[in-house]
Symmetry: C2
């Protein structure tokens, strides 16, 4: 979308009026008190008074987004299996499960271990566990958690898993990860079918179905292009899934899709659930993709922002803030300063944000705060230890980023 | 430099033969045992057997780099005040101080607090503390640590600091941060001099000198261009420093420079120390800047690498690994695969690295490990909880990234 239309949108985004809202759950106060690290010091504090850079989560918008997804999917045969790689938060995973999610996904074993330790059981890991030590850890997790499912996309790995499951005295639940594109997963068709059949025969594995996540489809700009391309690209996976079913396999899971295709993949016959992640937070990347109504993706509200402080105003038509790469990543499009559509923010310096502008809505001085829409929620969240959960701009909860840094 | 010359360099980089080495300190075994988190499980393990992604630090190369810097500076009148924003590690700060550093720098107050808690006292914070709460924290730190110096670049902030110091019953040591460029600091000349004079008069501040860090100069490619431009750009700061001295101020510190200009800023009259950071680790950004001998910066050895695992080999002329944006950042130039000069690695996906190639030196299969030179050490280190310190590829120490995530 054009820079100006995105800017125009933001004033309303800041006012919280843009999310498609189906129902708003009863407000629950401090649902994660056990996890709070510095809530005592922060409760009731305005987000504008937090030390910066701070990761702020508008709880009303978060709940709106979860409700919007639930509301949309309720009219389909498809469920939500939200991806926790986005939020890495046990608190948010619990809200999603309470809102009817069939489970959550994790990208890494260490995420699964950490979230399980915080009480999350229905976990589907979307990548494979490779190597003896990691496979053994996966089986240890499976022993403790009967609802742990892991992905496989490689025949020797399936055999290793079965051997390790046998040694651990368990039958491990697995899904085949089928490639859509060339990044991850086994190619659709004969190879994927053969792997599924092997898994079905291996003594200590239980075949549960397949994953087919199309990472490249999520950010295709324009709803129609995204719709047509993602459905076309899903055809090989669909045919593979139908062959698995036809061959008598227990193909109970057919999972994929993301925030960009949550209302498209529901049209794929047999699809069971979407691995939506970013819908809870939104970011500048997703704002750009557009929806059925226009070139801004307004289906969900930007709930996740970063507070920053102006640290330098000496130089004309530019300012410096305290939120650079270590607070915002280098993802594009750049962060957006809420309320200042003329500001061009770059986070290219490690420690500093740079703002350039021709005009500003108000005069800023050193120490003033700004609120930013983050560029790409997944890696931004991974930089912080806590979310400051706010309602009406006041801190109500401080949630740990439970699996922060769990990249293994 | 050209891609191919960088590639040629890497084979030797991997062999550890490139650092200018003046003396190698006696090897110290496990100098940070108190901080070790999982050393018991990891000691003696080959870096090739670590779970991935893993941040690996070659201790021999680290020590070579620290020794090389010490050796060079020993022939000058300039000291080292290494910047801990790069490593965020109390262990490495201690090695630097043991090697004669006059102190360390931090970019943020939370870094200073965290490192002080681990026993580091000589800390100069290179940015200002803004806002009542943060200033009070800074004074609490000053109360406990007489060697804490903080930067100021704004008159109202100097007054706030003096008031808070008075309330805390201390005299706070401050330096004026003078701008080189338009990102941070007070403009050189009259404004900076006036601020220094104000500080000198304020009852509870002690003026110590000035900082003049030229962030933009560090990565200018080609030694001569970097030399000439950085010296030219330092002239206004130098004149300001001389005016401070001439006006009778206690201008005992004149600090700036970085890894790219460590052997250039020593030519600025009156310079007291260089705020070198990346020299301990190196990265693809610094490899590119060149030195007096050629277009590759070989003054220091790449000691910091990321181990990754091949997770997908199904598709021709490409592979996928488990180290993406969350393990490597999006900084450019891209990570380099040691030993495979033909590999083009991109970390553009959050969870996956993508390698494209025409030819490979050997055949890789799923589960194989690769070692990467990181693109930009500061934000990469900030993604990890620990460094695996290795000698001869075996783990000898596990050091926490003490101030990881301390962006406030």
């Amino acid at each position: 979308m054009s820079r100006s239309s995105r800017r125009d949108f933001l004033t309303s985004a800041a006012a919280g009026t843009t999310a498609a809202t189906f129902w708003i759950p009863k407000k629950v106060y401090g649902y994660s008190r056990a996890h709070v690290t510095d809530l005592k010091a922060s409760r009731g504090v305005s987000k504008w008074d937090l030390d910066t850079p701070a990761l702020v989560l508008d709880l009303d918008k978060l709940e709106q987004n979860i409700a919007a997804m639930r509301g949309y999917l309720a009219g389909t045969k498809v469920g939500a299996r939200p991806h926790a790689k986005t939020h890495k938060s046990a608190d948010i995973a619990k809200l999603q499960l309470a809102a009817g999610a069939v489970g959550i996904c994790t990208a890494k074993l260490s995420e699964a271990e950490t979230l399980f330790a915080e009480g999350i059981q229905k976990i589907c890991m979307t990548t494979a566990n490779l190597g003896k030590a990691k496979i053994q850890r996966a089986m240890n997790l499976r022993k403790k958690n009967r609802e742990f499912i892991q992905a496989v996309d490689y025949e020797p790995n399936a055999r290793d898993l079965s051997d390790a499951a046998k040694a651990a005295g368990v039958t491990a639940d697995v899904v085949v990860d089928v490639a859509v594109g060339t990044r991850s997963g086994i190619p659709a068709g004969d190879q994927a079918l053969a792997l599924a059949q092997l898994i079905d025969k291996l003594p200590n594995l239980r075949f549960r179905g397949m994953l087919a996540y199309d990472g490249g489809a999520q950010h295709i700009k324009g709803y129609k292009a995204r719709h047509d391309q993602s459905l076309a690209r899903s055809q090989d996976a669909l045919k593979t899934f139908e062959r698995m079913k036809a061959s008598g396999l227990n193909a109970e899971i057919f999972s994929g899709g993301g925030t960009g295709t949550y209302n498209i993949m529901t049209k794929v016959p047999g699809y069971t659930d979407v691995q939506v992640g970013s819908y809870v937070f939104m970011d500048t990347q997703y704002l750009e993709i557009g929806n059925e109504k226009g070139d801004i993706f307004t289906d969900f509200a930007p709930s996740l922002t970063v507070m920053t402080t102006v640290v330098n105003t000496y130089f004309p038509k530019r300012m410096t803030t305290d939120a650079g790469t270590k607070a915002l990543t280098l993802n594009k499009p750049d962060p957006i300063v809420i309320g200042e559509p003329g500001f061009r923010y770059t986070a290219g310096s490690d420690e500093f944000g740079s703002i350039q502008f021709d005009t500003a809505n108000k005069t800023y001085k050193v120490g003033d705060k700004l609120e930013l829409i983050n560029p790409h929620c997944d890696p931004v969240v991974n930089l912080y230890d806590v979310f400051y959960g706010v309602r009406n701009d006041k801190v109500e909860a401080v949630w740990p980023v439970t699996a922060r840094g769990k990249s293994q």
